[in-house]
Symmetry: C2
Subunit: 201 residues, 2 copies
DNA sequence: GTCTATAATTAGATAGAC
DNA sequence: GTCTATCTAATTATAGAC
């Protein structure tokens, strides 16, 4: 790769990182390309050069966020050769909680787009969420055994998502409300264990 | 109350309702006073007349949303003369889930403000959230008995909030992802029972 | 009280210099 | 590739007619 091409990718990546932070924190409309450029330490013109529109920049940012989840889930599968399916489900949940703690942007962006509905939400669901929901990454029924009512699958999915994520997505609120910083290492582990034992008793 | 004063309150209320919907759906910045006026079937000038600024309108909207939670919780307490504390905790959770289904705005607004931090989030926490967190409305330790580790209280609180709310806050996403509409009556009851049994086994 | 008109800012997208 | 300048549209807040 030439020096110029390197520089290109480096700058592009800085912009995507800034955009992911801004979009998940403020939402699509409230986040401005000027602010994103500032966070990325460049100017607004460069954004339109690398991405043609705010919409396309958003897709690049969302893609980066959701790809990091996919990577995480794939790594997790390799490490899980455990015998007991219930203990495997618990460990799977713990890993997901740790991920939610390290990347609250995913949940924040999902809530942001889900409450508004529309094309961006549908794109995320069809492109990234459904593959996760329908794959063995999601420890759905496995945690409950064979007599698990399939009607409960959506409830289990969203209960897990909410239980794992909200305390980290709302970390500053949690700290002010309870005096406890949920992003501290011990707190993350405590939450991971709490949720895992709750969902797979 | 004079006719004019009635009209005043009626209009004011229409604006607050529209604002609550817009702010929880779009967030403070992305929601525009023009759009809110349109939803309330009036004009932007009237908003500045009844409320001095967008900020003050937001506070009125947030107050309405959180007051409805307080009302709900107080009504709930009266109906709960149950003997078994664990069954009382379960019923308390079921009621909260039904509330979250009927009023997803509360959770949506809380996530919106929590992720940004700042004065609005702190105002909500200090004014509305802390009283709930520290009162007997929140079935914290009661559900677990006397040997419940107080360190787990924040984890229980946010696990409950997330488990109860996310499926409804993200209802449109849920419907597209799973094919199931979580706002249907049977789905709400199923979720209420699922979460109640999970958190208080 | 209600509404229209407008001033001052800020937004996304574009054009062109370097 | 990067950056500055600018166009058009939309924003909040204000002033004033009725």
């Amino acid at each position: 790769m030439t020096r110029r091409a390197e520089q290109r990718e480096e700058t592009r990546q800085r912009i995507v990182d800034a955009a992911a932070a801004a979009f998940s924190e403020l939402g699509f409309k409230a986040a401005s390309t000027r602010d994103i450029a500032k966070r990325a330490d460049t100017n607004q013109g460069l954004i339109t050069y690398h991405f043609r529109s705010k919409e396309e920049l958003w897709r690049a940012a969302a893609a980066q966020i959701f790809e990091s989840l996919r990577t995480q889930l794939e790594e997790q599968l390799e490490g899980l050769a455990d015998a007991d399916p219930r203990e495997r489900a618990r460990e799977s949940i713990r890993t997901y909680v740790r991920y939610a703690a390290a990347h609250p942007e995913l949940f924040q962006m999902m809530v942001e787009e889900a409450k508004q509905g529309g094309a961006r939400m549908e794109w995320i669901v069809d492109t990234y969420l459904r593959p996760v929901y329908e794959s063995r990454f999601f420890p759905g029924g496995a945690a409950f055994g064979e007599d698990f009512d399939p009607k409960l699958l959506p409830h289990f999915f969203y209960t897990l998502a909410g239980a794992a994520s909200v305390i980290f997505a709302n970390a500053r609120e949690c700290e002010r409300l309870t005096g406890m910083d949920p992003t501290a290492d011990e707190a993350v582990e405590r939450h991971a264990d709490f949720v895992a034992r709750l969902l797979v008793p």
